[in-house]
Symmetry: C2
Subunit: 407 residues, 2 copies
């Protein structure tokens, strides 16, 4: 099932958010054409890289797209890119970009060429000043609620969560605006800032309301869950597991699996608590953890797994990335959203398709990343109707480039 078959999106981008948006659309079957300047944009060599210097980061975020390389420093190159963005096909005319929407990429310049353009422009701050995932996260409050209990220092998470949310929101903006265009015929300029994504989200998730109502901040809780019972435990063989009991059913299964039931009434009296209540499990979490710790310390991860799974406990092991690859079927070719795919210039990688699944349809095969400029000729001929001779002249002139091994 390729839900977005037929939709064409042109992407002018770098780094995470905008490329992730294009990737998400490509994984749903859209024809996503990313243009870059010859030799690659700012993100073309970002780490992690292979021994040959090929960026695994770039490959990861540009899978399934068509790549066009154009000399954007020349007016003729910018005209070519403009023609791609504003090509008249009914299912085209969608532009996703985090480049400044000024000069040749100003909305009015592009809209003069295609009035019904859907233009999704990603910026840092709402006033268009610079911000990146790291600076927005620092300001969001999240880093001050992450880390060990009593921590005096903010802790950054390794996941570029705001880039991720911005890329996904960009896809939502594009699909919503394209829906409206389909109904009314009208295009739209849509602006999306990293800062707005982050701060509206911490508001949606209750962090800001809590601060506003209580005039206090949620402190860092180590690996504990807020508002219910959730904590990590060490196993006998040096692994760690995350245990969660949010719902009453989850609590009962945990109690049964670990056999702590007989000690609970005394514990509840001592702490004036009723552990069948979510909030009392949160307030009494240290007491509950004290009961559970010996159970985990006495068992290997395999023994823990067997006992908890038997009772349907909500839990999971902590894993490194290599453990995730080696030990977890959910990140393996056994899971139909993954496949081993050969990426030109890199080799075989476990490669994901869209996480959106269609149980009644065959799964969509994961796509590899293109080489930079791999589709220059086919796109210029197919989308702009140029002849092979015209494209060959542009090559001779150095205006466009095709794929070269990217090392």
């Amino acid at each position: 099932m390729q839900l977005l078959s037929g939709l064409r999106v042109v992407e002018g981008s770098a780094f995470v958010a905008a490329p992730l948006g294009g990737l998400t659309l490509a994984q749903l079957g859209a024809d996503v054409i990313r243009f870059d300047t010859i030799g690659g944009g700012l993100d073309y060599r970002r780490w992690p890289i292979t021994e040959d210097g090929v960026s695994l980061y770039w490959a990861g975020l540009n899978k399934g797209k068509r790549s066009v390389a154009i000399d954007l420093s020349r007016p003729e190159g910018r005209e070519l890119a403009t023609a791609l963005i504003t090509a008249p096909d009914d299912d085209a005319g969608v532009f996703l970009s985090n480049f400044p929407a000024s000069g040749w990429l100003a909305d009015d310049r592009l809209r003069a060429r295609r009035p019904d353009l859907v233009y999704l422009n990603i910026v840092g701050n709402p006033d268009e000043s610079t911000a990146v995932d790291y600076t927005v996260n620092a300001a969001s409050g999240i880093a001050t609620a992450t880390g060990p209990v009593g921590s005096l220092f903010p802790v950054n998470h390794a996941l570029p969560a705001w880039d991720m949310a911005t890329g996904l929101n960009a896809v939502i903006g594009i699909l919503a605006a394209e829906r409206r265009r389909r109904i009314t015929g009208e295009g739209q300029l849509v602006k999306l800032s990293l800062a707005d994504v982050a701060f509206t989200m911490v508001a949606n998730l209750g962090f800001l309301a809590q601060a506003q109502v209580t005039h206090a901040n949620r402190p860092p809780l180590g690996n504990d869950m807020y508002g219910a019972f959730g904590r990590d435990f060490a196993t006998r063989d040096g692994r760690r597991v995350m245990i969660v009991a949010i719902s009453l059913n989850q609590w009962h299964t945990l109690v049964r699996a670990t056999g702590i039931e007989e000690h609970l009434p005394a514990m509840e009296r001592a702490f004036d608590a009723d552990f069948t209540k979510e909030e009392d499990r949160y307030r009494g979490r240290d007491a509950i953890a004290a009961l559970l710790t010996p159970w985990f310390e006495a068992r290997s991860l395999d023994e823990v797994r067997k006992a908890l799974d038997e009772h349907g406990v909500c839990w999971g092991p902590y894993q490194t990335f290599t453990q995730l690859l080696d030990d977890d079927w959910r990140a393996s070719a056994e899971n139909p959203v993954f496949g081993e795919v050969d990426h030109p210039g890199i080799g075989s990688l476990l490669t994901p398709a869209s996480p959106l699944r269609f149980p009644t349809e065959p799964p969509v095969a994961p796509a590899p990343a293109p080489l930079l400029g791999m589709h220059t000729d086919e796109v210029l001929q197919e989308v702009l109707g140029l002849s092979p001779i015209e494209v060959a002249r542009m090559h001779d002139d150095g205006l466009v480039a095709s794929a070269v091994p990217s090392s």
Copy 2:
């Protein structure tokens, strides 16, 4: 601009991912009808709560929706909810849920009533076993790459990032499937698991490829950025700031603003590095930080701000949630995506609209959260065409309920 005006979505949900999906659709103008059992579902009293016990969490994730309360333990109640889900209006027939898609919510049962239903069902694992944000995050590898350098323990982040990404992906699935229905007339069952969202994302972001290619894991880096220069620094007045120099331009502005230029050539010779290269800034980050630390220690946050902003450095202060509310215009009513809004049962809260902005249109006002059951009567009359007398009988029968102050 209400891009999704006219689209109606019925939501049967609890916790974060599915409600966030419905919220995102409502903030774009869709008519989102959330049904709950009378008295509220599993997430109705989740922390944080007000002094009166009203959940700020529930309010945050259900803003702008219509709330219907039905006794779902009775067959007549489940029939009412089924009628809402499968109502025949052209712009309706979209169901977003993280309830088990079995029994009365099985796809074939619902599809028999409305063959072109768009049904987005969120599950934990791809095999539909239980998983939550915390257990998926533990397994994703991210927690082992978060925290101080040399940390032996995984560190959870406070942001429910995978719930967030799953909710946003659910919206993408709905909009893509509704687009296809608009073109082909066909509906679709779409499954989305938290685990697939998390593990495809760590693959898209290059973490898995790095592990697969190098057989090594990215270690926790404290608050440093991976692959370029980014680190936090303490100011003279006890604040902390995050400084980022990914691009060459960002590096040059940082060097100029802090006056470290004269010391760089010696430093580059000592470390055999060229700091105009991203990767050399990463490899030499401790040396660069050593040069910068005294500059930050000698200045207050205000002095740092003035100097860095003057040069256009990419940076941001760390803030708690209360500092974000008190000191940052981006999370205030000065920013058009926020407004102070009165929420029934809670009071006034700084409340966000969608982060998607339309520069040529007036901003959309943020919406408050409903009381549970606030729209029961209007929805049953408007969507199902019931008469006021029929709805009154259902109230007498205890089958439905209207809003009561939720304390």
